[in-house]
Amino acid sequence: MSDSIADKAARATPPRVARKVRGLSDRAIAWIFVAPTIFLLLAINIFPLIWTIRLSFTDFRANRQGREVEWVGLRNYERILTDSDVWLSMQATAHFLIWTIALQVILGFALAWLINRKFKGNDLWTTIIVLPMMLSPAVVGNFWSFLYQPQIGLFNYVIAFLTGQNASSFDMLGSVDLAPWSIVIVDTWMWTPFVMLICLAGLRSIPDYIYEAAEIDRASQWRQFFTITIPMVLPFLMLAVLFRGIENFKMFDLVVQLTGGGPGNVTTLTSIDLKREAFEKWRTGYASAYAIILFVTVFGLASIYVKALNKVKER
Protein backbone atom coordinates (compact mmCIF):
# COMPACT_ATOMS: atom_id res chain seq x y z
CA MET A 1 0.00 0.00 0.00
CA SER A 2 2.63 2.50 1.06
CA ASP A 3 4.86 1.34 -1.79
CA SER A 4 2.37 2.52 -4.33
CA ILE A 5 3.16 6.23 -3.87
CA ALA A 6 6.82 5.64 -4.51
CA ASP A 7 6.05 3.26 -7.34
CA LYS A 8 3.81 5.75 -9.06
CA ALA A 9 6.42 8.45 -8.69
CA ALA A 10 9.06 6.11 -10.06
CA ARG A 11 6.97 5.29 -13.12
CA ALA A 12 6.28 8.96 -13.74
CA THR A 13 9.96 9.97 -13.71
CA PRO A 14 12.29 9.62 -16.69
CA PRO A 15 14.64 6.56 -16.62
CA ARG A 16 17.81 8.51 -15.85
CA VAL A 17 16.26 10.16 -12.80
CA ALA A 18 14.61 6.91 -11.83
CA ARG A 19 17.94 5.15 -11.63
CA LYS A 20 19.14 7.90 -9.32
CA VAL A 21 16.02 7.62 -7.19
CA ARG A 22 16.43 3.93 -6.73
CA GLY A 23 20.20 3.84 -6.29
CA LEU A 24 20.85 0.44 -4.88
CA SER A 25 17.77 -1.72 -4.90
CA ASP A 26 15.92 -1.99 -1.60
CA ARG A 27 16.70 -5.65 -1.49
CA ALA A 28 20.42 -5.03 -1.77
CA ILE A 29 20.29 -2.32 0.89
CA ALA A 30 18.34 -4.60 3.23
CA TRP A 31 21.02 -7.27 2.99
CA ILE A 32 23.91 -4.82 3.25
CA PHE A 33 22.34 -3.39 6.41
CA VAL A 34 21.57 -6.72 8.07
CA ALA A 35 24.64 -8.70 7.02
CA PRO A 36 27.25 -7.25 9.44
CA THR A 37 25.00 -7.88 12.44
CA ILE A 38 24.22 -11.42 11.37
CA PHE A 39 27.88 -12.04 10.63
CA LEU A 40 28.97 -10.78 14.05
CA LEU A 41 26.35 -12.89 15.81
CA LEU A 42 27.32 -15.95 13.80
CA ALA A 43 31.00 -15.43 14.57
CA ILE A 44 30.71 -14.60 18.27
CA ASN A 45 27.52 -16.41 19.32
CA ILE A 46 26.55 -19.24 17.02
CA PHE A 47 29.95 -20.52 15.97
CA PRO A 48 31.08 -20.71 19.63
CA LEU A 49 27.83 -22.47 20.52
CA ILE A 50 28.42 -25.13 17.86
CA TRP A 51 32.01 -25.45 19.01
CA THR A 52 30.81 -25.95 22.58
CA ILE A 53 28.44 -28.70 21.46
CA ARG A 54 31.34 -30.41 19.67
CA LEU A 55 33.66 -30.09 22.66
CA SER A 56 31.00 -31.47 24.98
CA PHE A 57 31.46 -34.92 23.43
CA THR A 58 35.22 -34.92 24.05
CA ASP A 59 37.64 -34.98 26.95
CA PHE A 60 39.45 -31.86 25.67
CA ARG A 61 41.41 -29.82 28.22
CA ALA A 62 42.22 -26.25 27.18
CA ASN A 63 45.33 -26.05 29.37
CA ARG A 64 46.93 -29.04 27.67
CA GLN A 65 47.24 -28.26 24.02
CA GLY A 66 48.65 -30.93 21.75
CA ARG A 67 47.30 -33.73 23.89
CA GLU A 68 45.31 -36.33 22.00
CA VAL A 69 41.59 -35.50 22.23
CA GLU A 70 39.26 -38.45 22.58
CA TRP A 71 35.59 -38.72 21.73
CA VAL A 72 33.73 -39.81 24.81
CA GLY A 73 30.20 -39.73 23.45
CA LEU A 74 27.63 -38.85 26.06
CA ARG A 75 29.84 -39.67 29.02
CA ASN A 76 30.22 -35.99 30.05
CA TYR A 77 26.45 -35.55 30.12
CA GLU A 78 26.03 -38.75 32.08
CA ARG A 79 28.58 -37.66 34.66
CA ILE A 80 27.05 -34.22 35.11
CA LEU A 81 23.53 -35.48 35.61
CA THR A 82 24.69 -37.98 38.22
CA ASP A 83 27.11 -35.62 39.99
CA SER A 84 25.77 -34.68 43.42
CA ASP A 85 27.76 -31.39 43.41
CA VAL A 86 25.96 -30.30 40.26
CA TRP A 87 22.61 -30.99 41.90
CA LEU A 88 23.70 -29.03 44.97
CA SER A 89 24.54 -26.03 42.81
CA MET A 90 21.20 -26.43 41.03
CA GLN A 91 19.53 -26.32 44.45
CA ALA A 92 21.51 -23.23 45.43
CA THR A 93 20.43 -21.60 42.16
CA ALA A 94 16.80 -22.57 42.73
CA HIS A 95 16.85 -21.10 46.26
CA PHE A 96 18.39 -17.90 44.91
CA LEU A 97 15.93 -17.68 41.99
CA ILE A 98 12.78 -18.36 43.98
CA TRP A 99 13.51 -15.97 46.82
CA THR A 100 14.88 -13.10 44.74
CA ILE A 101 11.90 -13.27 42.41
CA ALA A 102 9.38 -13.53 45.25
CA LEU A 103 10.84 -10.58 47.15
CA GLN A 104 11.34 -8.45 44.06
CA VAL A 105 7.80 -9.05 42.84
CA ILE A 106 6.26 -8.12 46.19
CA LEU A 107 8.46 -5.08 46.82
CA GLY A 108 8.51 -3.98 43.20
CA PHE A 109 4.77 -4.12 42.79
CA ALA A 110 4.15 -2.39 46.13
CA LEU A 111 6.52 0.42 45.23
CA ALA A 112 5.02 0.84 41.77
CA TRP A 113 1.55 0.93 43.27
CA LEU A 114 2.61 3.62 45.74
CA ILE A 115 4.46 5.68 43.13
CA ASN A 116 1.37 5.53 40.95
CA ARG A 117 -0.40 7.64 43.63
CA LYS A 118 1.40 10.44 41.74
CA PHE A 119 2.59 12.38 44.76
CA LYS A 120 4.77 15.43 44.20
CA GLY A 121 8.36 14.66 43.20
CA ASN A 122 7.66 10.99 42.52
CA ASP A 123 9.86 10.90 39.43
CA LEU A 124 12.95 12.06 41.33
CA TRP A 125 12.47 9.43 44.04
CA THR A 126 11.82 6.81 41.38
CA THR A 127 15.18 7.66 39.83
CA ILE A 128 16.94 7.34 43.18
CA ILE A 129 15.39 3.91 43.72
CA VAL A 130 16.53 2.90 40.24
CA LEU A 131 20.21 3.82 40.85
CA PRO A 132 21.43 0.42 42.15
CA MET A 133 20.39 -1.47 39.02
CA MET A 134 22.49 0.80 36.83
CA LEU A 135 25.73 0.02 38.67
CA SER A 136 28.39 -2.62 38.15
CA PRO A 137 27.32 -5.76 40.07
CA ALA A 138 30.94 -6.81 40.59
CA VAL A 139 32.03 -3.50 42.08
CA VAL A 140 28.89 -3.14 44.18
CA GLY A 141 29.00 -6.80 45.29
CA ASN A 142 32.59 -6.33 46.38
CA PHE A 143 31.64 -3.34 48.50
CA TRP A 144 28.68 -5.18 50.05
CA SER A 145 31.15 -7.78 51.33
CA PHE A 146 32.58 -4.89 53.36
CA LEU A 147 29.13 -3.92 54.67
CA TYR A 148 28.62 -7.56 55.73
CA GLN A 149 31.83 -7.78 57.84
CA PRO A 150 30.85 -9.09 61.29
CA GLN A 151 33.14 -6.76 63.25
CA ILE A 152 33.06 -3.54 61.31
CA GLY A 153 30.32 -3.79 58.70
CA LEU A 154 27.50 -1.27 58.54
CA PHE A 155 24.90 -3.95 57.80
CA ASN A 156 25.79 -5.92 60.90
CA TYR A 157 25.82 -2.74 62.96
CA VAL A 158 22.34 -1.74 61.82
CA ILE A 159 20.90 -5.21 62.38
CA ALA A 160 22.57 -5.39 65.79
CA PHE A 161 21.19 -1.95 66.64
CA LEU A 162 17.65 -2.94 65.62
CA THR A 163 17.60 -6.39 67.22
CA GLY A 164 19.82 -5.86 70.26
CA GLN A 165 22.13 -8.71 69.23
CA ASN A 166 25.88 -8.48 69.25
CA ALA A 167 27.16 -7.27 65.85
CA SER A 168 29.92 -9.85 65.77
CA SER A 169 27.61 -12.72 66.73
CA PHE A 170 26.54 -13.37 63.14
CA ASP A 171 28.53 -13.57 59.94
CA MET A 172 26.38 -13.08 56.85
CA LEU A 173 29.03 -14.34 54.42
CA GLY A 174 30.78 -16.92 56.60
CA SER A 175 27.82 -18.81 58.01
CA VAL A 176 26.31 -21.71 56.09
CA ASP A 177 22.81 -20.67 57.14
CA LEU A 178 23.08 -16.97 56.37
CA ALA A 179 25.22 -16.84 53.22
CA PRO A 180 22.40 -17.91 50.84
CA TRP A 181 20.33 -15.04 52.26
CA SER A 182 23.15 -12.52 51.98
CA ILE A 183 23.13 -12.86 48.19
CA VAL A 184 19.32 -12.74 48.08
CA ILE A 185 19.38 -9.44 50.01
CA VAL A 186 21.89 -7.75 47.71
CA ASP A 187 20.19 -8.96 44.53
CA THR A 188 16.84 -7.73 45.84
CA TRP A 189 18.35 -4.35 46.67
CA MET A 190 19.76 -4.12 43.16
CA TRP A 191 16.92 -5.43 41.03
CA THR A 192 13.64 -4.57 42.80
CA PRO A 193 13.63 -1.29 40.82
CA PHE A 194 13.50 -3.22 37.55
CA VAL A 195 10.33 -5.05 38.56
CA MET A 196 9.01 -1.75 39.89
CA LEU A 197 9.52 0.06 36.57
CA ILE A 198 7.79 -2.68 34.57
CA CYS A 199 4.87 -2.74 37.03
CA LEU A 200 4.66 1.03 36.83
CA ALA A 201 4.38 0.81 33.05
CA GLY A 202 1.61 -1.74 33.57
CA LEU A 203 -0.28 0.42 36.07
CA ARG A 204 -0.03 3.44 33.80
CA SER A 205 -1.41 1.45 30.88
CA ILE A 206 -4.75 0.91 32.66
CA PRO A 207 -7.21 3.45 31.28
CA ASP A 208 -9.01 5.61 33.87
CA TYR A 209 -12.45 4.83 32.46
CA ILE A 210 -12.29 1.25 33.71
CA TYR A 211 -12.01 2.49 37.29
CA GLU A 212 -14.71 5.07 36.64
CA ALA A 213 -17.04 2.36 35.39
CA ALA A 214 -16.24 0.22 38.43
CA GLU A 215 -16.98 3.19 40.68
CA ILE A 216 -20.36 3.68 39.05
CA ASP A 217 -21.04 -0.02 39.70
CA ARG A 218 -20.12 0.68 43.33
CA ALA A 219 -17.30 -1.86 43.33
CA SER A 220 -15.29 -1.56 46.55
CA GLN A 221 -11.64 -0.47 46.50
CA TRP A 222 -10.58 -4.04 47.29
CA ARG A 223 -12.72 -5.45 44.56
CA GLN A 224 -11.34 -2.95 42.06
CA PHE A 225 -7.83 -3.88 43.13
CA PHE A 226 -8.35 -7.61 42.64
CA THR A 227 -10.57 -7.51 39.56
CA ILE A 228 -8.98 -4.63 37.65
CA THR A 229 -5.51 -3.69 38.88
CA ILE A 230 -4.03 -7.16 39.43
CA PRO A 231 -5.29 -8.79 36.21
CA MET A 232 -4.28 -5.78 34.11
CA VAL A 233 -0.77 -5.64 35.57
CA LEU A 234 -0.25 -9.41 35.55
CA PRO A 235 1.15 -9.69 31.99
CA PHE A 236 3.69 -6.95 32.80
CA LEU A 237 4.58 -8.58 36.09
CA MET A 238 5.06 -11.95 34.40
CA LEU A 239 7.34 -10.34 31.86
CA ALA A 240 9.43 -8.81 34.63
CA VAL A 241 9.66 -12.26 36.25
CA LEU A 242 10.82 -13.76 32.93
CA PHE A 243 13.62 -11.22 32.58
CA ARG A 244 14.72 -11.54 36.19
CA GLY A 245 14.52 -15.32 35.96
CA ILE A 246 16.79 -15.50 32.91
CA GLU A 247 19.22 -12.98 34.39
CA ASN A 248 19.43 -14.67 37.77
CA PHE A 249 19.82 -18.10 36.28
CA LYS A 250 22.97 -16.71 34.66
CA MET A 251 24.04 -14.90 37.85
CA PHE A 252 27.80 -14.75 38.26
CA ASP A 253 29.48 -11.39 38.97
CA LEU A 254 27.58 -10.25 42.06
CA VAL A 255 27.80 -13.58 43.88
CA VAL A 256 31.43 -14.24 42.96
CA GLN A 257 32.38 -10.94 44.52
CA LEU A 258 30.19 -11.42 47.59
CA THR A 259 30.80 -15.00 48.66
CA GLY A 260 32.91 -16.58 45.91
CA GLY A 261 30.52 -19.53 46.15
CA GLY A 262 31.29 -20.22 49.80
CA PRO A 263 31.22 -21.03 52.60
CA GLY A 264 31.75 -24.59 51.43
CA ASN A 265 29.48 -24.82 48.42
CA VAL A 266 26.30 -23.23 49.77
CA THR A 267 26.28 -20.26 47.39
CA THR A 268 27.93 -22.02 44.45
CA LEU A 269 25.38 -21.17 41.78
CA THR A 270 25.58 -23.10 38.51
CA SER A 271 27.51 -20.31 36.75
CA ILE A 272 30.14 -20.33 39.47
CA ASP A 273 30.37 -24.12 39.39
CA LEU A 274 30.71 -23.95 35.62
CA LYS A 275 33.47 -21.37 35.86
CA ARG A 276 35.43 -23.60 38.25
CA GLU A 277 35.12 -26.62 35.98
CA ALA A 278 36.10 -24.65 32.88
CA PHE A 279 38.75 -22.21 34.08
CA GLU A 280 40.14 -23.67 37.31
CA LYS A 281 39.98 -27.44 36.82
CA TRP A 282 40.31 -26.96 33.04
CA ARG A 283 37.92 -29.82 32.26
CA THR A 284 36.87 -28.09 29.07
CA GLY A 285 34.90 -30.96 27.55
CA TYR A 286 33.00 -31.60 30.76
CA ALA A 287 32.33 -27.87 31.25
CA SER A 288 31.08 -27.59 27.66
CA ALA A 289 28.50 -30.29 28.31
CA TYR A 290 27.58 -28.47 31.52
CA ALA A 291 27.14 -25.22 29.57
CA ILE A 292 24.88 -26.92 27.02
CA ILE A 293 22.74 -28.41 29.79
CA LEU A 294 22.33 -24.97 31.40
CA PHE A 295 21.51 -23.31 28.10
CA VAL A 296 18.91 -25.95 27.23
CA THR A 297 17.40 -25.59 30.71
CA VAL A 298 17.04 -21.80 30.46
CA PHE A 299 15.78 -21.97 26.93
CA GLY A 300 13.27 -24.72 27.73
CA LEU A 301 11.95 -23.08 30.88
CA ALA A 302 11.72 -19.69 29.16
CA SER A 303 9.82 -21.16 26.20
CA ILE A 304 7.26 -22.86 28.44
CA TYR A 305 6.91 -19.66 30.44
CA VAL A 306 6.40 -17.51 27.33
CA LYS A 307 3.59 -19.84 26.24
CA ALA A 308 1.91 -19.34 29.62
CA LEU A 309 2.48 -15.60 29.34
CA ASN A 310 0.80 -15.46 25.94
CA LYS A 311 -2.23 -17.26 27.36
CA VAL A 312 -2.50 -14.67 30.13
CA LYS A 313 -2.19 -11.87 27.57
CA GLU A 314 -4.99 -13.31 25.44
CA ARG A 315 -7.46 -13.25 28.29
Partner: protein, 313 residues
Protein backbone atom coordinates in the same frame (compact mmCIF):
# COMPACT_ATOMS: atom_id res chain seq x y z
CA UNK B 1 -16.88 11.94 49.63
CA UNK B 2 -19.01 13.48 46.93
CA UNK B 3 -16.03 15.20 45.32
CA UNK B 4 -14.07 11.94 45.34
CA UNK B 5 -12.47 11.21 42.01
CA UNK B 6 -11.41 7.70 41.11
CA UNK B 7 -8.59 8.72 38.90
CA UNK B 8 -7.05 11.22 41.33
CA UNK B 9 -5.86 9.61 44.60
CA UNK B 10 -6.86 11.39 47.81
CA UNK B 11 -4.40 13.74 49.49
CA UNK B 12 -4.05 11.43 52.45
CA UNK B 13 -3.17 8.39 50.36
CA UNK B 14 -0.67 10.50 48.44
CA UNK B 15 1.08 11.52 51.65
CA UNK B 16 1.25 7.96 52.93
CA UNK B 17 2.60 6.77 49.57
CA UNK B 18 5.20 9.54 49.51
CA UNK B 19 6.43 8.72 53.02
CA UNK B 20 6.80 5.01 52.24
CA UNK B 21 8.50 5.51 48.89
CA UNK B 22 10.91 8.11 50.26
CA UNK B 23 11.75 5.82 53.18
CA UNK B 24 12.56 3.00 50.76
CA UNK B 25 14.61 5.33 48.56
CA UNK B 26 16.64 6.54 51.54
CA UNK B 27 17.38 2.97 52.70
CA UNK B 28 18.38 2.07 49.14
CA UNK B 29 20.82 4.97 49.10
CA UNK B 30 22.65 3.97 52.29
CA UNK B 31 25.14 1.51 50.68
CA UNK B 32 25.90 4.00 47.91
CA UNK B 33 26.43 6.89 50.32
CA UNK B 34 28.61 4.58 52.40
CA UNK B 35 30.86 3.84 49.40
CA UNK B 36 31.37 7.55 48.80
CA UNK B 37 32.02 8.28 52.50
CA UNK B 38 34.43 5.36 52.92
CA UNK B 39 36.53 6.72 50.06
CA UNK B 40 37.32 9.77 52.19
CA UNK B 41 38.15 7.89 55.38
CA UNK B 42 41.51 6.89 56.80
CA UNK B 43 42.02 3.11 57.00
CA UNK B 44 41.53 3.27 60.79
CA UNK B 45 38.24 5.20 60.47
CA UNK B 46 36.99 2.84 57.77
CA UNK B 47 37.17 -0.21 60.04
CA UNK B 48 36.24 1.39 63.37
CA UNK B 49 33.35 0.07 65.46
CA UNK B 50 30.75 1.51 65.71
CA UNK B 51 30.90 2.70 62.09
CA UNK B 52 31.78 6.38 61.90
CA UNK B 53 29.45 8.78 60.14
CA UNK B 54 31.40 11.84 61.29
CA UNK B 55 35.13 11.66 60.63
CA UNK B 56 38.11 13.74 59.45
CA UNK B 57 38.00 13.49 55.68
CA UNK B 58 41.27 12.58 53.99
CA UNK B 59 42.36 11.85 50.45
CA UNK B 60 44.44 8.87 51.54
CA UNK B 61 42.13 6.42 49.77
CA UNK B 62 42.48 8.29 46.50
CA UNK B 63 46.26 8.60 46.86
CA UNK B 64 46.53 4.88 47.54
CA UNK B 65 44.26 4.15 44.61
CA UNK B 66 46.47 5.95 42.10
CA UNK B 67 49.91 5.06 43.46
CA UNK B 68 52.05 2.16 44.52
CA UNK B 69 54.11 2.71 47.65
CA UNK B 70 57.13 1.17 49.32
CA UNK B 71 58.03 1.13 52.98
CA UNK B 72 61.25 2.90 54.01
CA UNK B 73 63.09 3.15 57.34
CA UNK B 74 62.54 6.33 59.39
CA UNK B 75 66.21 7.28 58.85
CA UNK B 76 65.90 7.07 55.09
CA UNK B 77 62.70 9.07 55.27
CA UNK B 78 64.49 11.81 57.18
CA UNK B 79 67.29 11.81 54.65
CA UNK B 80 64.75 12.57 51.91
CA UNK B 81 63.96 15.97 53.39
CA UNK B 82 60.50 17.52 53.67
CA UNK B 83 57.76 16.15 51.38
CA UNK B 84 57.36 18.09 48.17
CA UNK B 85 53.66 17.52 47.52
CA UNK B 86 50.52 17.02 49.58
CA UNK B 87 50.22 13.42 48.45
CA UNK B 88 53.82 12.74 49.42
CA UNK B 89 53.01 14.10 52.86
CA UNK B 90 50.02 11.76 53.25
CA UNK B 91 52.03 8.70 52.29
CA UNK B 92 54.98 9.57 54.55
CA UNK B 93 52.82 9.46 57.69
CA UNK B 94 53.00 5.70 57.28
CA UNK B 95 56.78 5.54 56.71
CA UNK B 96 56.25 5.03 53.00
CA UNK B 97 57.23 6.77 49.80
CA UNK B 98 55.45 6.77 46.45
CA UNK B 99 57.08 4.26 44.12
CA UNK B 100 55.04 5.02 41.03
CA UNK B 101 51.55 5.18 39.57
CA UNK B 102 49.21 2.25 40.12
CA UNK B 103 47.40 0.38 37.34
CA UNK B 104 44.06 2.03 38.15
CA UNK B 105 44.45 4.82 35.59
CA UNK B 106 45.16 2.31 32.82
CA UNK B 107 42.24 0.10 33.82
CA UNK B 108 39.91 3.08 33.90
CA UNK B 109 41.10 4.15 30.46
CA UNK B 110 40.53 0.59 29.18
CA UNK B 111 36.96 0.77 30.48
CA UNK B 112 36.46 4.01 28.58
CA UNK B 113 38.00 2.73 25.32
CA UNK B 114 36.18 -0.61 25.36
CA UNK B 115 32.91 0.91 26.60
CA UNK B 116 32.72 3.66 24.00
CA UNK B 117 34.22 1.54 21.22
CA UNK B 118 31.70 -1.25 21.62
CA UNK B 119 28.82 1.21 22.08
CA UNK B 120 29.70 2.99 18.86
CA UNK B 121 29.95 -0.28 16.95
CA UNK B 122 26.71 -1.70 18.41
CA UNK B 123 24.82 1.46 17.55
CA UNK B 124 26.29 1.71 14.07
CA UNK B 125 25.53 -1.90 13.13
CA UNK B 126 22.34 -2.00 15.19
CA UNK B 127 20.82 1.05 13.52
CA UNK B 128 21.46 -0.35 10.04
CA UNK B 129 19.97 -3.72 10.93
CA UNK B 130 17.02 -2.17 12.77
CA UNK B 131 16.23 0.05 9.80
CA UNK B 132 16.31 -2.92 7.45
CA UNK B 133 14.07 -4.97 9.76
CA UNK B 134 11.70 -2.06 10.16
CA UNK B 135 11.35 -1.01 6.52
CA UNK B 136 12.05 -3.95 4.23
CA UNK B 137 10.53 -7.33 3.90
CA UNK B 138 13.23 -9.69 5.01
CA UNK B 139 12.59 -13.41 4.68
CA UNK B 140 12.19 -15.07 8.09
CA UNK B 141 12.40 -11.65 9.78
CA UNK B 142 10.58 -12.80 12.90
CA UNK B 143 12.77 -15.87 13.27
CA UNK B 144 15.90 -13.80 12.77
CA UNK B 145 14.77 -11.27 15.38
CA UNK B 146 13.96 -14.03 17.86
CA UNK B 147 17.30 -15.66 17.16
CA UNK B 148 19.06 -12.34 17.74
CA UNK B 149 17.28 -11.94 21.06
CA UNK B 150 17.72 -15.52 22.23
CA UNK B 151 21.48 -15.19 22.10
CA UNK B 152 21.14 -13.23 25.33
CA UNK B 153 19.87 -16.29 27.20
CA UNK B 154 23.24 -17.97 27.21
CA UNK B 155 25.17 -17.71 30.46
CA UNK B 156 28.30 -15.64 29.82
CA UNK B 157 30.54 -18.38 31.18
CA UNK B 158 29.10 -20.84 28.65
CA UNK B 159 29.99 -18.49 25.79
CA UNK B 160 33.34 -17.71 27.36
CA UNK B 161 34.75 -21.24 26.93
CA UNK B 162 34.82 -21.30 23.10
CA UNK B 163 35.50 -17.55 22.89
CA UNK B 164 38.53 -18.13 25.06
CA UNK B 165 39.76 -20.87 22.69
CA UNK B 166 38.87 -18.88 19.57
CA UNK B 167 40.55 -15.71 20.79
CA UNK B 168 43.67 -17.65 21.73
CA UNK B 169 43.86 -18.95 18.14
CA UNK B 170 43.23 -15.54 16.58
CA UNK B 171 45.48 -13.60 18.95
CA UNK B 172 42.55 -11.56 20.24
CA UNK B 173 42.95 -12.58 23.91
CA UNK B 174 43.51 -9.65 26.20
CA UNK B 175 43.20 -7.08 23.40
CA UNK B 176 40.96 -4.02 23.16
CA UNK B 177 39.66 -5.12 19.77
CA UNK B 178 38.69 -8.54 21.10
CA UNK B 179 36.73 -7.07 23.99
CA UNK B 180 35.07 -4.44 21.78
CA UNK B 181 33.89 -7.13 19.35
CA UNK B 182 32.67 -9.35 22.17
CA UNK B 183 30.70 -6.60 23.93
CA UNK B 184 29.28 -5.50 20.59
CA UNK B 185 28.06 -9.04 19.93
CA UNK B 186 26.38 -9.13 23.33
CA UNK B 187 24.84 -5.67 23.04
CA UNK B 188 23.72 -5.75 19.46
CA UNK B 189 20.69 -7.95 20.10
CA UNK B 190 19.24 -5.44 22.56
CA UNK B 191 20.27 -2.55 20.31
CA UNK B 192 18.50 -3.96 17.24
CA UNK B 193 15.44 -4.76 19.33
CA UNK B 194 15.16 -1.29 20.88
CA UNK B 195 16.07 0.63 17.73
CA UNK B 196 13.58 -1.25 15.59
CA UNK B 197 10.90 -0.04 17.99
CA UNK B 198 12.03 3.55 17.68
CA UNK B 199 12.28 3.42 13.89
CA UNK B 200 8.88 1.73 13.59
CA UNK B 201 7.42 4.86 15.20
CA UNK B 202 8.74 7.16 12.46
CA UNK B 203 6.14 7.48 9.66
CA UNK B 204 7.27 5.99 6.35
CA UNK B 205 5.77 8.95 4.50
CA UNK B 206 8.78 11.13 5.36
CA UNK B 207 11.16 8.85 3.50
CA UNK B 208 8.78 8.37 0.62
CA UNK B 209 8.56 12.13 0.21
CA UNK B 210 12.34 12.28 0.22
CA UNK B 211 12.58 9.48 -2.36
CA UNK B 212 10.22 11.36 -4.65
CA UNK B 213 12.37 14.47 -4.19
CA UNK B 214 15.25 12.52 -5.73
CA UNK B 215 17.05 11.18 -2.67
CA UNK B 216 18.46 7.70 -2.91
CA UNK B 217 17.28 5.20 -0.32
CA UNK B 218 20.56 5.61 1.49
CA UNK B 219 20.33 9.41 1.56
CA UNK B 220 16.77 9.15 2.81
CA UNK B 221 18.03 6.88 5.57
CA UNK B 222 20.70 9.18 6.91
CA UNK B 223 19.17 12.55 6.13
CA UNK B 224 15.58 11.82 7.11
CA UNK B 225 15.35 8.76 9.34
CA UNK B 226 18.50 9.16 11.44
CA UNK B 227 17.71 12.68 12.73
CA UNK B 228 14.18 11.52 13.59
CA UNK B 229 15.51 8.52 15.50
CA UNK B 230 18.20 10.53 17.33
CA UNK B 231 16.67 10.36 20.82
CA UNK B 232 15.97 6.66 20.44
CA UNK B 233 19.52 6.06 19.29
CA UNK B 234 20.87 8.08 22.21
CA UNK B 235 18.95 6.16 24.84
CA UNK B 236 19.91 2.83 23.24
CA UNK B 237 23.54 3.97 23.29
CA UNK B 238 23.28 4.65 27.01
CA UNK B 239 22.12 1.08 27.66
CA UNK B 240 24.95 -0.37 25.58
CA UNK B 241 27.47 1.83 27.34
CA UNK B 242 26.21 0.90 30.80
CA UNK B 243 26.36 -2.81 29.97
CA UNK B 244 29.91 -2.62 28.63
CA UNK B 245 30.96 -0.38 31.53
CA UNK B 246 29.62 -2.78 34.17
CA UNK B 247 30.51 -6.13 32.56
CA UNK B 248 32.64 -8.41 34.71
CA UNK B 249 32.44 -12.11 33.71
CA UNK B 250 34.03 -11.83 30.26
CA UNK B 251 36.49 -9.22 31.46
CA UNK B 252 37.78 -11.38 34.29
CA UNK B 253 38.08 -14.51 32.11
CA UNK B 254 39.43 -13.06 28.88
CA UNK B 255 41.66 -10.18 29.99
CA UNK B 256 44.53 -10.04 32.40
CA UNK B 257 46.90 -7.22 31.59
CA UNK B 258 46.67 -4.94 28.56
CA UNK B 259 42.91 -4.84 28.08
CA UNK B 260 41.66 -5.42 31.63
CA UNK B 261 38.81 -3.09 32.56
CA UNK B 262 38.11 -1.54 35.97
CA UNK B 263 35.49 -3.97 37.42
CA UNK B 264 37.87 -6.96 37.75
CA UNK B 265 40.61 -4.63 38.99
CA UNK B 266 38.87 -2.63 41.74
CA UNK B 267 38.18 -5.62 44.06
CA UNK B 268 41.85 -6.58 43.98
CA UNK B 269 43.29 -3.37 45.44
CA UNK B 270 45.30 -4.72 48.34
CA UNK B 271 46.55 -2.66 51.25
CA UNK B 272 48.47 -3.58 54.37
CA UNK B 273 46.81 -6.70 55.82
CA UNK B 274 43.95 -7.31 53.41
CA UNK B 275 41.83 -5.17 51.14
CA UNK B 276 42.50 -1.44 51.35
CA UNK B 277 38.86 -0.45 51.83
CA UNK B 278 39.23 3.34 51.48
CA UNK B 279 41.14 2.81 48.21
CA UNK B 280 38.58 0.25 47.01
CA UNK B 281 35.80 2.69 47.89
CA UNK B 282 37.63 5.53 46.14
CA UNK B 283 37.95 3.42 43.00
CA UNK B 284 34.31 2.34 43.24
CA UNK B 285 33.23 5.97 43.67
CA UNK B 286 35.12 7.13 40.59
CA UNK B 287 33.74 4.18 38.64
CA UNK B 288 30.10 4.36 39.79
CA UNK B 289 29.58 8.11 40.12
CA UNK B 290 29.50 8.85 36.35
CA UNK B 291 26.73 6.25 35.94
CA UNK B 292 24.76 7.67 38.88
CA UNK B 293 24.98 11.22 37.52
CA UNK B 294 24.11 9.98 34.04
CA UNK B 295 21.06 8.18 35.39
CA UNK B 296 19.77 11.19 37.30
CA UNK B 297 20.37 13.68 34.47
CA UNK B 298 18.97 11.47 31.71
CA UNK B 299 16.24 9.82 33.80
CA UNK B 300 13.41 10.52 31.38
CA UNK B 301 15.02 8.69 28.44
CA UNK B 302 16.49 5.93 30.58
CA UNK B 303 13.37 4.96 32.49
CA UNK B 304 11.33 5.02 29.33
CA UNK B 305 13.93 2.89 27.59
CA UNK B 306 13.91 0.20 30.27
CA UNK B 307 10.18 -0.32 30.17
CA UNK B 308 10.01 0.17 26.43
CA UNK B 309 12.59 -2.50 25.78
CA UNK B 310 11.04 -5.00 28.13
CA UNK B 311 7.37 -4.47 27.41
CA UNK B 312 7.49 -4.29 23.66
CA UNK B 313 7.26 -7.99 22.95
Amino acid sequence: MSSYSVTEPSQKSKTVAAVLVIAYALITMVPLVWIILTGFKSPADAISYPPKVVFDPTLEGYVNLFTTRTRVTPEDLEALGPPETWYDAIVRQYDMVIAGPSKFGERFLNSIIIGFGSTFLSIFLGTLAAYAFSRFRIPLADDLLFFILSTRMMPPIAVAIPIFLMYRQLGLSDTHLGMILLYTAVNISLAVWLLKGFIDEIPREYEEAALIDGYTRFQAFYKVVLPQAATGIASTAIFCLIFAWNEYAFAVLLTSATAQTAPPFIPTIIGVGGLDWPAVAAGATLFLLPVMIFTIVLRKHLLRGITFGAVRK
